[in-house]
């Protein structure tokens, strides 16, 4: 069951690399949030209301609802054009995506797995997600896409943390997600301000050594 979800999660990455629309990526984010929620639920052995609420907060509320809504709102209110405008073509990014999968599975194949709640598959997908997130950041110029890449990367990390979820103290995981949401908030704030001052949705590059 978990494996299937994980695979779907991985497929969502492929989807992300073929899409051209920001909206699609937002959908992907929502999807990933939901999947993560499901996986967490399935993985947690003893379920009390604290952990449940915590998991729900982390995944459903933040990842699947709040943040996508922010971003969607930002896109609407800042006249950001809805194409991704990646500097690499879809085919190329697809190829790269598969390469990333290759790398991460190679790594997970090389790795010794002791802790039971982490399978090579999960690790591979998680790692691939992290790399994919960074790759999205690199391949795009728009601030909003940078943010999305960052979020996908965060999802990958969260997936990684599922393995250690039971070990992480609640305070840590809570703090982590709080930090995440805060940083996203501030990032959105900055995007708005940059939009208003620079009158541009791409990341500014006036600060350099000329």
């Amino acid at each position: 069951m978990v494996e299937i979800l994980v695979v779907i999660f991985g497929l969502s990455l492929l989807w992300a690399s073929v899409t051209n629309m920001l909206g699609t990526i937002i959908k992907i984010l929502v999807l990933q949030g939901v999947i993560l929620f499901a996986i967490t639920l399935l993985k947690t052995t003893q379920l009390n209301w604290i952990s449940f609420s915590l998991i729900a907060l982390e995944t459903l509320v933040f990842k699947a609802f709040l943040i996508p809504w922010f971003i969607d709102d930002t896109i609407k209110h800042n006249q950001i054009r809805r194409e991704v405008e990646a500097s690499v073509s879809n085919f190329f990014s697809l190829a790269l995506m598969s390469l990333i999968f290759l790398l991460s599975f190679a790594l997970s194949a090389a790795a010794p797995f002791w802790s039971l709640n982490l399978s090579p598959l999960e690790f591979g997908i998680a790692f691939a997600t992290i790399l994919k997130g960074i790759f999205i950041i690199i391949a795009n110029k728009k601030l909003i896409t940078h943010l999305m890449g960052y979020l996908i990367m965060e999802n990958g990390i969260f997936m990684l943390s599922l393995s250690a979820g039971s070990h992480l103290p609640y305070i840590v995981s809570l703090g982590v997600s709080l930090d995440l949401i805060l940083s996203v908030l501030i990032a959105v704030l900055f995007i708005k301000r940059i939009r208003s001052t620079f009158d541009d949705t791409e990341s500014p590059q006036s600060l350099k050594e000329e």
């Binding site: 090389a110 790795a111 010794p112 002791w114 802790s115 982490l118 992290i130 960074i134 950041i137 601030l143 940078h146 960052y150 990367m153 965060e154 990958g156 990390i157 990684l160 943390s161 393995s163 250690a164 070990h167 992480l168 103290p169 305070i171 840590v172 703090g175 982590v176 709080l178 930090d179 805060l182 940083s183 501030i186 990032a187 900055f190 301000r193 940059i194 001052t197 620079f198 990341s203 500014p204 006036s206 600060l207 050594e209």
Partner: protein, 448 residues
Amino acid sequence: MNTIILFAYPVLAGLICIFISSRRRMDILILLHALLHTGLGIHAYVNRGSLSGMDDLGLFIYLILSVLYSAIAFYRLGMQDSTAIKDYRIHSIFLMIFVMAMDGATMAKDLGLIWIFVEATTISSAMLISYSNKKSSLEAAWKYLFICSVGIALAFAGILLLVIAQPGEATLLISHIDASKLSPFWLKISFVFILIGFGTKIGLAPLHFWLPDAHSEAPAPISALLSGALLNIALIPILRMNKLMQQSGMADLAKELYLLMGFLSVFIAAVFVLKTKDYKRLLAYSSVENMGLIMIAFGAGALAHYGAYLHILGHSIIKSAFFLCSGNVLAIYHDKNHEKISGMLTTNPISAWLWLLCSVMIIGLPPSPLFISKFLIATALLNNGSYLLFALLMLLLTIVSWGIMRVGLSMCLGDSERKQSLSIWMYLAPAGLLLIASIIGIFLPVLD
């Protein structure tokens, strides 16, 4: 108890700030915070552990932070500020939050907690950097926030990998981790992740790109705090990981990575010290260089450890004094291009001499503590028999010091007819820091 006070005060003060609307009062509040901070630090130094379970390393960084913070609080008394009171209020509040987050980082033992606090520093200081609503500062803040967040996220991945590396019941309290049971494979990978993640925050090449932008765009006290305190804060987790690496017998790998990043940083610093036209960027690059030196010190072996800590101490104090001086220069000329500035010795002699002294001490001429630390680092390098690395290091350091001195001289010398004086606090704060630094450099303290 003390800890509670330490964390309660900023909250209260922040609340008060919301209701008062006089700059002076906010400055006073911050000054009080700084003094409280210092007092608690001294108290903790006198009888250990009065701040919740802070170990020597934490206390060391904390005390440096206190010194810088008080100096900056005094410096702010002298600053002329023309922004709206609203922004100023936000600024003050976030300043206190920033310091609070750093305190947390110094106290936390659990890597996860450290991570949280470091991320918190990123968020709060991003607000501080974008304080003056100029385009450039906004851009700098964005880059700082984004790059550091990505880096920090990688660091978190590393922390998770550290968890994975532990068979069975895992923990993130370094002191509780049993190094012998760790899986070397995962440990290596997690170390790489953590090094790169927090290395971004420290500003080690090639992850340093945010640093010159942020340092040059932030207002002087903030740059001082960023460069003097924040970089050290980001050092803490790496140092804690370092213990782990040593225990699990992978010290050599760690050392190689340190040396690699250290030399890259010094090299990058040398390149851009020649290139840059902006004197605050120059200082930022010199921070990159010094952080690289500290890394080299940890990579060079046991002989240099005293040197490394001395270097952290000296660099923090001198560099923040330097940034405060740059604030003076900016207040005089309202221009950050050093080629447009000359004759400061006649325009404002005190700032000029402060600037020259700062440059002299940052390039490690006595009575700067950096002199001793550089000597020790070099000795350690030679002790490893890596003569070529030594030669390379000396060459790069010479280039850096040439650049810094050239800029300083060309700004200070020359003739100009205008005279301008600044508030006394803007002289006292950097001068005091320099004094402390030279005292440290002459009567070397016993560290750890």
